[in-house]
């Protein structure tokens, strides 16, 4: 089985600070990593491979330095990586088009896995868009996956209800972070990952020409969160009573 995992290199959002004067996030000097939920997708791909056999290719669209992060996924157990070097303003439609072109270029692909969303922008668009461009079935928000030779069965978390569904291959599956705990690579796996291939494809060559972003990001600013900073200083019982009253008034408690 040929499995493709789409993984995105993101900045470590836990380290982002907002410049108090401009309200813009300060991104320089912040460590980059693979988006957490995409690592869950890689882990699930490895489990699929362990069960039914096959080959795992990691695809990423971004800057050339993503290669170092892709190596981590190869150390976990993916077999090869492809970094599609694309301009920084590539938005969802461009990225989905590029990934679809890459999947087609890879040839026979049975399953495409990705995280339900990336931890930096969390739009959740990529999986569904990619399935649309590839014109294959999609199973989103997967919390459990059982792969067989000719079909896959998944459990999906749809907020107010859960659904169990099955699909033949090829299929796109987006996973949630609850699906598994990504493994840590051993020292030996880290050492052997350096011999696994990482190819670099150019966006324009892959798409057969320049791709125009449909959406332009004009500005990104942190959202200020105002706090009420109320301190209840009466005796404990009275304070609790007041706090519960205030929370009810705010609609937090009903």
């Amino acid at each position: 089985m040929n499995i493709v995992v789409c993984a995105k290199q993101v900045v470590d959002v836990s380290e982002i600070k907002v410049d108090p004067s401009t309200k813009r996030p300060v991104l320089s000097g912040i460590a980059k990593k693979i988006s957490d939920i995409d690592k869950n997708a890689v882990e699930e791909a490895i489990r699929m491979k362990e069960k039914v056999g096959g080959k795992i290719t990691v695809l990423t669209v971004g800057s050339a330095d993503a290669k170092e992060r892709v190596k981590e996924l190869l150390a976990m157990g993916a077999d090869e990586g492809v970094v599609i070097v694309a301009p920084v303003d590539s938005e969802y439609s461009v990225v989905a088009t590029l990934l679809a072109a890459a999947v087609k270029k890879l040839g026979q692909v049975d399953a495409v896995l990705c995280g339900e969303a990336s931890i930096d922008l969390f739009s959740g668009q990529l999986g569904p868009r990619l399935a649309g461009v590839l014109d294959i079935p999609q199973l989103t928000y997967t919390t459990k996956l059982t792969a067989e030779k000719d079909h896959v069965t998944v459990e999906r978390n749809l907020g107010d209800h859960a659904a169990t569904m099955t699909s033949p291959y090829p299929v796109l599956i987006s996973v949630t972070k609850e699906i598994n705990t990504p493994r840590l690579p051993s020292l030996m796996q880290i050492l052997s990952s350096s011999s696994k291939p990482i190819r670099e494809w150019k966006a324009e060559e892959l798409a057969g020409g320049p791709l125009t972003p449909k959406i332009k990001t004009l500005d990104i600013k942190g959202v200020p969160m105002s706090r009420k900073n109320i301190v209840y200083q009466d005796d404990l019982d009275a304070s609790i009573h007041k706090l519960v009253g205030e929370l009810a008034k705010e609609g937090v408690l009903r």
Binding site: K71, A75, L184, S186, L187, I190, L191, S193
Partner: protein, 379 residues
Amino acid sequence: MQLELTEQQKMIRNMVREFAEKEIAPIAAELDKKEEYPTKTLEKMAALGLLGIIIPTEYGGAGLDTVAYATVIEEISRKCASTGVITSVHNSLAAWPIIKYGTDAQKKKYLPLLAKGERIGAFAGTEPNAGSDLAAMKTTAELKGNHYIMNGSKTFITSGPKAGIVIVFAVTNKAAGTKGLSAFIVENTFKGYKVGSIFEKLGIRASQTSELIFENMEVPKDNLLGKEGDGFKIALSTLDGGRIGIACQAVGIAQAALDESISYAKQREQFGQPIAKFQAIQWMIANMATRIEAARLLVYNAAYAKDKGERISKHAAMAKLFASETAMDAVIDALQIHGGYGYTKEYTVERLFRDAKITEIYEGTSEVQRMVIASSLLG
């Protein structure tokens, strides 16, 4: 001149950092309190190859260099200094002398067991009346037929009660002084091998430290490490490498003290502002961070020299001396920053304070490190 880890070394450091955060940090305080050996953690570490870091790949290890090894010991010690020293002793004091001085048969027999973590390694040089003064050693080994008969006792042995493979030093020729010392690979299953008292310690309480007692212990002739009389040389060269490990442990403890101080100083408010806004706190943190950076570079320098095959006694002694004193300075300041809370077991810094002290003592006290440095300069 390159002062940066390679991408591969960074990947290793990141993997160990993540492992330590997830698997070691949550249990470190509890193990310290109960003086409980981290057996389960060591099993998980073995699966990741962390018990065979420097063991060649043909014997089931990862075959990594000393710089990569240094990053591993630092990251583990940053979350638990006990697990750090167990790993350091296992790799650099038990596996290394076998890699360096062992016969093919000894390597084939013992290195895979250490690499897979099926046996934990220890090093037994110290005796009640012989610490850094190895020549005062009283344990004897006398060749009778196919066995050496060993008698004597060792003390302050890290992992003593749990170790399965121990590098033991004993006198084989009393008249020859330090040239009469020999090294042996001893298994805890040998007849006459006994674990003595387990010490109740101030710090690194999860690393069990004990006496080992040998009563007419039969050590097969084949378990002599190197030649008869090589013991002194083997002990000194092994301890040079071990000191790099302890220096890494010290840097890890110091880094943890800095991590805790930064996070506490930012959230603790006094006089209407976080204490991080006060210059007195800022200076302590700045000094701590600067010394840690310097200590880490000294460690990498010693590790790099070892990988190049240079004589490292001076480098290793300098790294160990500076890193251990840095750790002690760091925990004193870190506890001061934490105020009264730091004096309680509620806060990690209390454990760091107790753990740091041993780094100035074992594998050669700071005074011994200064002797080593001075003698390499003055002859």
